[in-house]
């Protein structure tokens, strides 16, 4: 397999891998490193790549496991870094500043969710995967995915409502 062929396989989902890693690891740099690791692992095992029936789902599962390992590692426990990703949200800035502020709130709320809920929200609402795909990636059954998703969505909604109405009602 040549590099070009490999890149053709990987390109459609490498952004998804990155976003999932970022959802779990928060820091952009960490997520970039994680994505790089995942892609290099895939490249090193390129001979076996044909055997996987769904490379994308396989990579997402790999990403999830890799990020969990990262979070559990000693390095992460000893050193608590507060990640502040300074970046230009120019897309959102087209809207009102107020709205942008509440968008940030959504990010913060999702960050405070349990890991499983974060994953499901990321895979469903942002990456728009089917329930059975998510179930396969996370090694859960579909009902459990739905329940987790519902809980996450409700938490986000409630907290947003609270912030939105803070001081008003």
């Amino acid at each position: 397999m040549t590099q070009a062929e490999f890149l053709n396989i990987v390109t459609p989902f490498k952004d998804k891998v990155f976003r999932l890693a970022k959802r779990l690891l928060v820091s952009t740099e960490e997520a970039e490193d994680a994505t790089q690791e995942i892609l290099i692992k895939l490249w090193n095992n390129k001979k076996k790549i044909k055997q996987y029936n769904n490379i994308e789902a396989f990579s997402m599962t790999m990403t999830k496991n890799f990020c969990f390992d990262k979070l559990k590692s000693k390095q992460a426990q000893n050193l608590k870094i507060v990640h502040s990703n300074y970046q230009d949200h120019s897309v959102a800035l087209q809207k009102q500043v107020e709205l942008n502020d509440s968008i940030d709130w959504v990010g913060k709320i999702i960050e405070s969710l349990p890991e499983q809920q974060k994953l499901v929200i990321q895979l469903r609402d942002i990456e728009q995967y089917d329930f059975n795909e998510i179930a396969k990636m996370l090694d859960m059954n579909e009902t459990a995915v739905r329940v987790t998703l519902s809980r996450a969505r409700k938490t986000i909604r409630e907290q947003l409502t609270n912030t939105h109405n803070y001081g008003i009602k």
Partner: protein, 157 residues
């Protein structure tokens, strides 16, 4: 009418029962400028999702094509070197053969010296032959034992 529909969808959405298509409808609705005021809190949620879809991975991934050195071949090479060295070292040891005449000569020499040794040995043996006389005398002295017998009887009495 539309609002009614959206509200229904939102309820399904909160229970995790919407399909991807229905979720797309919701996202479309909430990306409008104005939404119903009582649904305002959903707006940032959906715009957050839409915004996050756009984030991309830009870092370069170094894909090495260089093969990692395989230590298996090291042992193969070692075995090959060993075989070659054995193959070349064997003829040197078998080359030190003697001709038939030399072998015969050596055999004769050994034979002669061994003969000499055995001759001298036999001579020695014949000189020691008189020791047999001592042995004969020894047997003749055996009758002294018989003397022990009457002496024992005497001491008993």
């Amino acid at each position: 009418m539309v609002l009614n529909n959206i509200e229904k969808l939102l309820e399904k959405y909160d229970n995790g029962e919407t399909t991807l298509k229905e979720e797309q409808q919701l996202k479309d609705y909430f990306s409008q400028e104005t939404v119903a005021s009582h649904l305002e809190m959903y707006k940032p949620m959906f715009s957050y999702f839409l915004e996050n879809q756009k984030e991309q991975f830009t870092k370069h991934v170094p894909l090495k094509t260089k093969k990692v050195f395989n230590y298996k071949w090291l042992s193969v090479a070692a075995v090959a070197v060993l075989m070659v060295s054995i193959f070349f070292s064997k003829p040197f040891s078998s080359e030190e053969t003697y001709s038939k005449e030399e072998q015969q000569l050596a055999f004769n020499q050994v034979k002669a010296s061994l003969e000499l040794v055995s001759k001298q040995f036999n001579k020695g043996v014949s000189q020691v032959g008189y020791l047999e006389v001592i042995e004969k005398a020894g047997t003749q002295v055996d009758y002294l034992k018989e003397m022990n017998d009457p002496m024992g009887r005497i001491f008993k009495n």
